[in-house]
């Protein structure tokens, strides 16, 4: 049955309220079960041996001595994960990243793994694995990797997307291009042009919970995996493919999640844990250390971006171009492509062209990180936009409003926009008291806009009505930010029940149909759609049951305010039947009452935000403090406003960390210097002011309640907002993220000389 997801404006009873999330108390009291909290009888402990070389050929691996260590039950190498990827390069990259096959491609690349009865035996065995390496030249820097003298990291990679076809192997795996119009003509009409190069360093999602799982392969060919993930159905598919297990025979249960932000949309050690369990014939627990999380689980790209924007003296942008180089780690991917698509998405441009170049380097395989690739592109573009506004003497908000995209605009990446929120967020920013608040000495204000696509995807939800009239919803999208609360509000709204009557659970892969993972800000958008659909299906059944209970024709029963009503007057004065009334009789009217929904949630609706930031810079030390920060973002409809605000604040906090201090630092030897929270500096509480939020609600026409995803866009503007604020505070344009104290001080010193 197809579901009509068109937005129908209505007033809400539950949606828009702020009840406590059902998982909150457990999380703050330590009862919640995270990835490492699951245990099985007879379980072994696994540890992974990782390369200390940035680039090396693996000539041989001798595990014989490790196998003799008392307590060791299995040792695996790439030989235990035979290549079943059948020519699928993306899947092969996952396999090779889980366990290096011929070459170690980065510091931290897995080489072998051990399962033993305890940690001590596992560690002792790791030390006895003898690996014969042939060290190869390495390259970790995004620009250095593209130079003619750079070592070619993979002889089989020839730049795709170029004409004529490239004939020499290259570290540039792919070139993509987007845009429309004629930029040369556009620049010829410009009165002012800003042209600059920017760089951003590689950052990690920085989730507090490390990757953790328990894997159990049974002799009958079935297997189970308990794991911290953003998408247990996707993990099931990938693990089954890599291990040659039939998909339905692998049951994956997701734990509570202590942060993912995209980093838990990819498998890292799970196939290795399964391979160890298969070999040892025992359950195996594998928990990554923080050092491993940094060295070997996916960070985002390091980038180098050239931007050129021209405007006429009326403040109209006449042309804009960007060339974006994004590292993807050792394997080809599409991170630069996403950057190239998002760069100019906020603006209505006649002539625009962006080029994305995917760069291979000796760093870990890049993973999604909240609106992946968009923050860096926004940093470069929004910095240039600010500078151009200054050059032509326009206020930066007005300049953006002058050029903003709106309904009907052809976006820089192709599609024509429907109703969108970028204009309203800019107008709200202009009117916000923050914009006109006075600044102190050594303070600067910056602003920036951001865009993210959002995604919908495959979704399956069950809604079961219990005999007492309370309701369970079983969903397949992992709750990463309060979605169980939001979805309960949605079910309560549809059924006319109270929030307390609804219990939402995340079902495992054997008890529900396939669901895409929680990425692309899709959790609440898509699963609320499926929940509404499931609730409406259950209501339809309850109408039938009411008709049976009353013994009147179905056509005379309608549903309103959580009750079945008998239409008209011909059936006498029948009192409406509540969900509870109908549920109590279910056993006599046809059995349990449930609503199901399977759908592809289309029309996620693009998302926009504008951020404003005030920063205080000590010109003698380069030390900076964010003193005020405001996020203005379109939510479509805020189902649970507190958790929408939480997403706005969380994204801003991560973006501020990225902008100011976070970075992967590699030594000359190609090894990561700071694989820990001491020297990989995410903001601590006292580093941040309370982040103000303003929710705009421009309904998404393709969602019944108007909902848009809100999880990612909030990390897009901060890099640029901070860089603009610092540049304004110190009077020097900052072009390299993070704008850490040494970079600020060096820029100030250079400017003086």
């Amino acid at each position: 049955m197809s579901f009509d997801a068109t937005n129908s404006s209505k007033s809400f009873k539950s949606v828009g309220t702020r009840p406590l999330r059902p998982d909150g108390v457990d999380k703050v009291t330590g009862r919640a079960r995270y990835g490492a909290d699951f245990n099985m009888p007879g379980q072994l402990v696994a540890r992974v041996l990782r390369s200390k070389h940035a680039h090396a050929k693996i000539k041989s691996i001798d595990t014989s001595r490790a196998e003799t260590v008392k307590g060791v039950k299995a040792v695996v190498t790439a030989a235990d994960l035979p290549d079943l990827t059948d020519g699928d390069p993306a899947l092969f990259a996952v396999l090779d990243n889980c366990m290096a096959r011929n070459k170690a491609m980065y510091d931290g690349h897995a080489i072998a793994a051990v399962a033993a009865i305890d940690e001590k035996a596992a560690k002792a065995a790791l030390k006895l694995i003898a690996v014969d390496y042939e060290i190869l030249p390495h390259v970790t820097d995004v620009d250095a990797a593209t130079l003619p003298d750079a070592p070619v990291l993979n002889e089989a990679i020839f730049t795709q997307g170029v004409e004529p076809k490239s004939t020499r192997p290259s570290n540039i795996a792919n070139r993509t291009e987007f845009g429309h119009g004629d930029v040369d003509v556009g620049f010829s009409h410009a009165d002012s042009v800003v042209e600059r190069s920017y760089k951003t360093e590689q950052t990690h999602q920085g989730y507090i919970e490390p990757h953790a799982c328990v894997a159990n392969c049974n002799p009958d060919g079935t297997a189970e995996l308990w794991v911290c993930t953003q998408g247990h159905f996707v993990y099931r598919q990938v693990c089954a493919d890599l291990l040659g297990i039939e998909v339905s025979k692998l049951r994956v249960t997701s734990s509570e999640i202590g942060g993912g932000f995209g980093g838990k949309t990819h498998v890292w050690t799970e196939p290795v844990a399964l391979a160890l369990s298969r070999k040892a014939n025992r359950p195996v627990k594998l928990v990554m250390s923080r050092d491993e999380v940094f060295r070997a689980s996916g960070p985002t790209s390091a980038t180098s971006i050239d931007v050129k924007i021209g405007a006429n003296k009326d403040g109209i942008i006449t042309a804009a171009t960007a060339t974006l180089r994004y590292t993807s780690g050792p394997y080809a991917d599409m991170w630069a492509e996403l950057g190239a698509m998002t760069s100019f998405a906020c603006y209505d441009l006649e002539n625009v062209k962006t080029v994305g170049l995917e760069v291979i380097v000796n760093r870990p395989k890049v993973a999604a990180y909240r609106a992946p690739s968009a923050p860096m592109a926004a940093f470069a573009v929004e910095s240039a936009i600010d500078e151009l506004a200054q050059k032509i003497g326009m206020n930066p908000v007005d300049f953006r409003i002058q050029n903003v995209a709106s309904e009907g605009t052809q976006s820089s990446y192709g599609p024509i926009y429907g109703p969108i929120g970028i204009g309203p967020t800019l107008e709200a920013a202009k009117a916000h008291p923050h914009m006109s608040a006075p600044l102190g000495k050594n303070q600067g204000r910056g602003m920036a806009c951001g865009f993210w696509f959002n995604f919908g995807g495959q979704t399956c939800t069950d809604l079961n009505i219990s005999a007492d009239g309370t309701v369970t919803i079983a969903v397949g999208t992992v709750d990463v930010g309060g979605s169980r609360a939001s979805l309960s509000l949605i079910a309560a709204e549809e059924l006319g029940l109270s929030y307390d009557n609804i219990k939402a659970v995340v079902a495992d892969t054997s008890t529900l149909g396939y669901n895409d993972m929680t990425d692309g800000s899709r959790g609440t958008f898509s699963t609320s759609m499926a929940t509404i659909s499931a609730a409406r299906n259950a209501i339809e059944i309850m109408r039938h049951r009411a008709a049976l209970m009353w013994d009147i024709p179905l056509g005379d029963v309608y549903w309103e305010d959580g009750h079945a009503h008998a239409a008209g007057t011909k059936h006498g004065n029948l009192a409406p039947l509540s969900v509870k009334d109908i549920a109590a009789e279910a056993g006599k009217t046809g059995g349990p009452i449930a609503g199901h929904s399977e759908l592809v949630a289309d029309g996620a609706g693009v998302s926009f935000a504008t951020h404003i930031c005030d920063i205080d810079v000590d010109p003698e030390t380069g030390s900076s403090r964010v003193v005020r920060y405001t996020v203005i973002q379109d939510a479509g409809k805020a189902v649970h406003p507190s958790y929408v605000e939480g997403q706005y604040q969380g994204g801003a906090a991560q973006g501020i960390g990225w902008a100011l201090n976070e970075e992967y630092i590699y030594g000359e030897d190609g090894r990561l210097q700071n694989p820990g929270f001491l020297d990989y500096r995410i903001p601590v509480c006292s580093d941040l002011p309370m982040i103000d939020t303003q929710i705009l609600e421009i309904p998404n026409p393709k969602h019944p309640y108007g909902v848009r995803g809100v999880g990612e866009t909030s990390i897009v503007p901060p890099l640029a907002a901070i860089a603009n604020a610092v540049s304004n505070a110190v009077g020097v344009r900052m072009t390299h993220i993070p704008v850490s104290p040494p970079r600020i001080l060096a820029a100030l010193t250079d400017a003086k000389d």
């Binding site: 560690k123 790791l126 250390s289 003698e620 030390t621 380069g622 030390s623 403090r625 100011l660 201090n661 630092i665 210097q673 700071n674 001491l678 020297d679 500096r681 903001p683 601590v684 006292s686 580093d687 850490s740 104290p741 040494p742 001080l745 060096a746 010193t749």
Partner: protein, 286 residues
Amino acid sequence: MRYERPDTMQAATALLAGAEAKSFVLAGGTDLLVRMQNDDFEADLIVDIKAISGMAKVTETDDGFVIGAGVPSVALFEDTALVAAWPGVVEAANLIGSTQIQGRCTIVGNLCNASPAADSVPALVAAGAVAQVAGPSGTRDVAVIDIPTGPGKTSLAKGEIIQAILLPKPNARTGDAYLRFIPRTEMDIAVVGVAVNLTLNEDGTVIAARVALGAVGPKVILVDTAAKAVIGSKLEDVVLQALSESCSAACTPINDKRGTVAFRTQVAGVLARRAAQTAYTRAGGK
């Protein structure tokens, strides 16, 4: 690995002196326990000194203060006489980590861990502190500056334990201060640390000074040229400039993940000036 918790210093030093392979003293454990998580950490013996009597006490004597090796940072802050006498030392000890860390960590552990970036060490050196070292054959007093010899290395011999830090009674009109640079607001390691200890005469002229730098060389640096620059002055602008320059000149830092040579050198000068101004005010100047 063996864990021992002796109740006398003799027993503790004897255990360490008799240990066959790697052994460690355990004070607050905020460095040691973290190190023990490393895959390549190995130890045969851990000797916890916190059960030895007197370790957890700060004692005020005629000559000064005796700070036991087990005293956590937070207890220094609660000792009003010590705070009044050596505010710079106490503020340095209370920059270490966070509230939780300060409930455990000790200044002796900070010193013996021998990190070039240890926060309390420049302040102790500027204050002229002395370490009371117990060994199998008795005790000896060693100037704090002579304890660390390089990153992770100390001059302590096998079997030796620092049992207390001795701080003198400050002369009249003395003030000290410690400032460090970290990119964040807390939970960070000093990129540069500067301690200044000044004594003034009645008219506010500096008559004695000690200036110590942390995190800008393999170990804490006592900068005599900086002291000379301020003695005889009232910290006039030119003097502060000279102080700043002498501190920058004394730096021998490296480029690393925490900061560049240029940054550390420049900021050492800036912090020296600021710390000197605070010390001067605390000494009753202006």
